[in-house]
Symmetry: C2
Subunit: 168 residues, 2 copies
C-alpha cells in the first residue's frame, strides 16, 4: 500500500513537526520499546524481553511484505516517538466497502497530549483512507483505555461496536 | 490461506451436516442476499440492489485474490445458508502475535438458532486459527446486536474492547 501513501510526509504537533514514514528493520527495538511503554500492553506480556525479539522481528517482516499492511513510525529529532499499523481489509458488507483498520497506536509516554496521536489519526482518515479507497476506518480499544476512548470520540469515531477477543 | 484450511469440510448442526468451503464467483448473489437478510446491514445500505452488484463482485474478487483473506460459505442441500470472512492480520502487539479477524458472519434467518453459526465459530477457533498460526481471534459486533453478544460470550469471547468506526 505504500505507493499510494506518498511517504514520508511531515505532520504538525505541539512538540514540533515530525516525519511519518514506513517502519524499517532498524526500527525494531524502538518499536518493541514503544509497545512495552504502555501498561495495557505490558500486562499482556509486551515487556520488551529479548527472548521475544525474534517474534517481533518476524511480525515486522510479515507486515512489511504484505501489500495490504504497513507499520508506520513517527520520527522526531531522529527518534521513533510513535507508531500505528494500517491494514486494508476488502469486505462484502456495506456494499463491498474496503475498510482501513488501525492497530497498535502508540505514542511515547513523555510525548503524549502533544497532538501527535491526533495528527496520526487525522492523516489516516483524511489522507490514507481516501488514497487507499477505504470508505470506513475501524479500530478497537481496550475497555480499560478510557482516555483513548475520549480521544477517538473527539476525532469523530463512533463507539458503535463491541470488540470481542478470544485467545486460542 | 486456503491451503492451510483443508477445505471443503463437513460441520454438524441441528439442521443437519453442512459443507464449509471457500466462496466462488457463482456464490455472489447468494452472498448479497445473505448480507441483505439482516436488519443492521440493510440499515447501512446492504439491500441487495442490482446497482451495487459490481461493487460486491469486486470485493469478493479482492478477498479471493488475497492470500491473507478468505470468504467462506456454508452449503446445505445445495444452497448457501451462511458465510463469514476470515483475515489473518500480522501484528507487533502481544509479542508479534498474528490475529485471525472474523467479519461479516451471517446465517440465513430461517436457519438461525440451529447451531450453524456456533459450528462456524468453533471451527474458526479450533481449526482455522491454529492452522493459520493465529494466537488470537477478534471480531466486532454492532452494539445493537445483543443476541449476537450473548452468542459470542457463550463461545468464550471476552467483550474486552470498544469498537470504533468512522465513515470517510
Amino acid at each position: 500500500m505504500l505507493a499510494e501513501l506518498a511517504l514520508p510526509t511531515e505532520l504538525a504537533s505541539r512538540a514540533g513537526a515530525f516525519t511519518l514514514r514506513a517502519a524499517r528493520d532498524g526500527d525494531l527495538d524502538a518499536l518493541i520499546a514503544l509497545i512495552a511503554n504502555d501498561p495495557v500492553s505490558a500486562a499482556r506480556g509486551d515487556v520488551g524481553s529479548s527472548e521475544d525479539r525474534d517474534d517481533y522481528a518476524r511480525a515486522l517482516g510479515e507486515i512489511g511484505a504484505d501489500p495490504r499492511n504497513t507499520q508506520l513510525v513517527a520520527e522526531l529529532g531522529g527518534e521513533v516517538i510513535a507508531t500505528m499499523q494500517l491494514t486494508v481489509l476488502p469486505g462484502l458488507a456495506r456494499q463491498g466497502a474496503s475498510r482501513l483498520q488501525v492497530e497498535t497506536v502508540r505514542v511515547r509516554d513523555d510525548l503524549r497530549s502533544e497532538g501527535i496521536g491526533a495528527a496520526l489519526m487525522r492523516w489516516a482518515s483524511d489522507v490514507a483512507a481516501p488514497a487507499l479507497g477505504a470508505r470506513l476506518i475501524q479500530l478497537t480499544s481496550d475497555a480499560a483505555r478510557t482516555d483513548a476512548h475520549r480521544f477517538y470520540e473527539r476525532l469523530g469515531y463512533a463507539p458503535s461496536h463491541i470488540g470481542f477477543k478470544l485467545s486460542v
